[in-house]
Symmetry: C2
C-alpha cells in the first residue's frame, strides 16, 4: 500500500467535484470564528454508504439519512448542523430534518431527496428552523470550503479534524477525503460522532458498502471517550465517480488500495476524535496481540481503552498495570494469565502475568507525552486488534457537570 499518499491539508473537498461551506446561524451561542451549519456538495450524483447509531433513541436527522442510504438512490449533498441534536423533540424532529434538506435543495437547485442530513448538539431542543431558513442561503460553496464545513459541525471539540488520501488506479488519481467531529458520548459500536467521507472514485456500490462496514469496525467502532453512545452517530461515504477510473469492484489491487486509503482516512479521523475527547490530555492506543481471534483482540483492546481506572491511571502517569489486567479480564476473552505480557511504549512491565522489574521513571515519563501506547500480548493465538481512547481528567467532570445549565 505504499502508493497511498496523504494530501497536504486534505479535507472533504479534496476529491474532484466536491465543494463545501458553512455559516453561523445562531444555533450555538455566538463566539469568534464559530460556524454551526454547513453543506458538502457534489457537482454530480453520488452513490452512498453509511453506518449509524445503534441507540434505540435516534435523531430524525439520522432517520432521514439512513433512509437515503438504504434506498440506494444517489444523492448530491449533505447539510449538517451543530448545537442541536434534533432528537427527542416529538413529531417536529422528522419534519424539521426534512425541511432542512429541502432548504439546502432549494439553494442548490436539486431535489430534497438528494440531500442527507446530520445534526449534533443538545438533545431535546427543537431545531431553530427560522434561523436555518435565513442563513443557509448565505452559505458560499467553495472548493477550499472543507475547513469551513469541518468547523461548522464542531460541538465541544477543540479543533477541526480532516484528512485526505490519494492513490492511482490505471492512469487516474483517486482521492478520499473526510471530516469528523466527536468529543463526548464516544463509545464503540457505532459511532458516536459525525464523519463525512467523500471520494471521486468510480466504485461499485455493494463493494463500497461492504468495505465501509469493515473499515468502521476497525476504526470508529474502536474508539471510546466516555462509554456513552450518541443518538446521532453517522458515518456517511459519498462517491461521485469524477476521477474517471476503471470501476473498483473488489478482488484486485485497486480495490485493496481503496480499502487501505479508506482505512487510513477513517483511522486518522477516529484517532483525532479520541485524542480530542472532552478534557483529554493523552491519546491512548491499546493493541492486543496473540488473542484467539481478531474479534477477541479488538474486544479486549476496547475494554482496556474504556476502563475508567486505566484512564485515570494514565492521567495520573501511574503505571498501574494491575488495572490493565483487570480491564483485560473484564472483557471475558480467552486468556491464560501466566502468558500475559504488557508493554507501555515498548517498555515491558508485565511478564508471565505479573510485574517485572522496570524503570518506573521511564514509564511515568512515557505516560506524560501526549500519546501512550499500551500493548498486551496474550500468546494464545494470532488475533490482533487496536482501540483508541483518552485519559479521564477533572476537566471532563467539570465540563459535563455544567453542559446545559
Amino acid at each position: 500500500m505504499s502508493d497511498i499518499k496523504i494530501v497536504p491539508a486534505g479535507t472533504v473537498t479534496s476529491p474532484i467535484g466536491f465543494s463545501a461551506g458553512g455559516v453561523f446561524a445562531g444555533i450555538k451561542t455566538p463566539g469568534e470564528g464559530k460556524l454551526d451549519i454547513g453543506i458538502v456538495y457534489s457537482d454530480r450524483p453520488c452513490d452512498t454508504a453509511g453506518t449509524f447509531s445503534q441507540n434505540s433513541v435516534v435523531s430524525p436527522s439520522v432517520t432521514v439519512t439512513r433512509g437515503l442510504v438504504e434506498s440506494g438512490r444517489t444523492i448530491r449533498a449533505v447539510i449538517a448542523n451543530s448545537g442541536c441534536a434534533n432528537c427527542a423533540v416529538g413529531e417536529y424532529g422528522l419534519k424539521d430534518a426534512q425541511e432542512m434538506a429541502a432548504i439546502a435543495a432549494d439553494k442548490l437547485g436539486i431535489n430534497p431527496d438528494e440531500v442527507a442530513v446530520g445534526s449534533t448538539g443538545v438533545i431535546g431542543v427543537e431545531l431553530p428552523m427560522a434561523l436555518i431558513r435565513d442563513h443557509v442561503p448565505q452559505i458560499t460553496l467553495k472548493e477550499e470550503g472543507g475547513d469551513e464545513f469541518a468547523t461548522a459541525i464542531l460541538t465541544t471539540d477543540t479543533r477541526t479534524k480532516h484528512i485526505a488520501a490519494t492513490f492511482k488506479v490505471g492512469g487516474s488519481s483517486v482521492t478520499i477525503g473526510g471530516v469528523s467531529k466527536g468529543s463526548g458520548m464516544i463509545h464503540p459500536n457505532m459511532a458516536t460522532m459525525l464523519a463525512f467521507i467523500t471520494t471521486d472514485a468510480e466504485i461499485e456500490n455493494t463493494f463500497m458498502k461492504q468495505t465501509l462496514r469493515e473499515v468502521v469496525q476497525l476504526t470508529f467502532n474502536q474508539i471510546d471517550v466516555d462509554g456513552d453512545q450518541s443518538t446521532n452517530d453517522t458515518v456517511l461515504l459519498m462517491a461521485n465517480g469524477a476521477a474517471g477510473n476503471p470501476t473498483i469492484s473488489g478482488g484486485d489491487e485497486a480495490s485493496e488500495e481503496f480499502r487501505a486509503a479508506l482505512y487510513a482516512v477513517a483511522r486518522h479521523l477516529a484517532k483525532e476524535i479520541a485524542r480530542d475527547g472532552e478534557g483529554a490530555r493523552t491519546l491512548m492506543e491499546v493493541t492486543v496481540e496473540g488473542a484467539e481471534s481478531h474479534e477477541d483482540a479488538r474486544k479486549a483492546a476496547r475494554s482496556i481503552a474504556s476502563s475508567l481506572l486505566v484512564k485515570t491511571a494514565v492521567y495520573g502517569r501511574d503505571p498501574n498495570w494491575g488495572r490493565i489486567m483487570m480491564a483485560l479480564g473484564k472483557s471475558e476473552i480467552k486468556l491464560e494469565e501466566p502468558k500475559v505480557r504488557v508493554f507501555i511504549n515498548d517498555i515491558q512491565i508485565v511478564a508471565e502475568g505479573r510485574a517485572i522489574a522496570y524503570n518506573i521513571q521511564s514509564v511515568v515519563s512515557a505516560l506524560g507525552q501526549g500519546e501512550v501506547r499500551i500493548r498486551v500480548s496474550l500468546d494464545v493465538g494470532e488475533g490482533r486488534g487496536t482501540a483508541w481512547g483518552c485519559d479521564l481528567t477533572e476537566e471532563y467532570v467539570v465540563f459535563n457537570s455544567a453542559y446545559t445549565t
Copy 2:
C-alpha cells in the same frame, strides 16, 4: 413481609453462633483506627452459597472460596484482608491464599478447608505473609466483633457497611446479618465488592443457593460506580442452623420471609456501596417500569445509572433529561419513544418522549439532596427494575489518578 425487623446496629455477628474480630497487620499504610485483616467465625459448621467475579483474571483468594462453595462441604470461618488483592502475582497467589486459610484454621482449631478467604486492594502485589502470620493470632473474636470485621475489609470506603434483619419461623427467631465493602471497580454482573452474609437459619442448601443467586441479581448486580469489574468480587452466605427453626426449603411462607429478609440485607449493603462510591456525593436510584420484561427494565436502569454523562449531570445538579434518554436508548431494550415518561423525585420532566414544562429549580434542588430518584416509565409492558449508582465528581478522578504512586 411485614414481619421482618431490622436489628438495631445489626451486623454479621447478629445471628446466633457467630463471632468476629479484626487486627491491623500493616498490609495497608498505618492510620488511626485502621484494621486490615479480620475473621468471621461460627461455633458450628455452616452450609454456604456464593457468587463470584466473572472477570477472567481472578484472585486466588476467590479461587479458594469458590472451590469451597462448589464442593458443598461445610465451613466454619472466613478470613479476609484489605490493602492487597492477592491477584496477578503468579504461582504465589494460590499458595498464599491457602496459607492464609491455614493460619486462621490454626488459630481457630479447625481444618484449613473449613476457612474461606477474601482479599481486596491493590492488584499485583504479593500478600505480606510474615505480617499475616504474626498478626492473625492476635485477633480477638467477639460476639460484638462485626464492626471490627467490617472495618478490616475497607479500602477506599469512607465508612463501614452492615445490617441485620430478623423474622420468626415457627417459634424460632431467624436472623440474617451482613457486611460489605466497595468503593471502586463497581459494576453490574457480579459483584465488584466483598460481601459476607451470615444467618443462623436452618435452611436447605439448594434453596439457599438459588435464593442467593436471585437476590444478588436484583441487588449487587444492579449497582455501578465506575463500570469496572474487580478481580476479587465475592458474595458469601454462611448458614449455621443455630436458630433451630424448622428447615426452610422453599415453597412456603417461611421461605418467602427468608427471601425477603435476604433481599433487604443485600439491597441495603448494595445501596451503601453505591452511596459510598469513590468521590460520590449523591446516591442515584434509577427505576424503570413498564418495560417488556423485568430483565429489560433492569438493563435499562443499569444503563442510566452507569452513564458518565448522567452521573456528571447529577453531580452538576443539571436536569439534563436528554442524557437520560440517550442512556435509555443505549441499553437497546424495546421502547416506543412517544410513550416515554421521566420523573426526578416524582417531578415529571418528560412526557411522550419530550420535555414538558416543569419547575427547574425544584428539580435542581432535588438533585442536591444526597439521594436522587430517577424513574422512567416505558408503557410497553409490565417489567420493572431498579439500579443504583452515584454521581461522578472531580474527586473520583483525583483519587484514581493517584492511587498507587
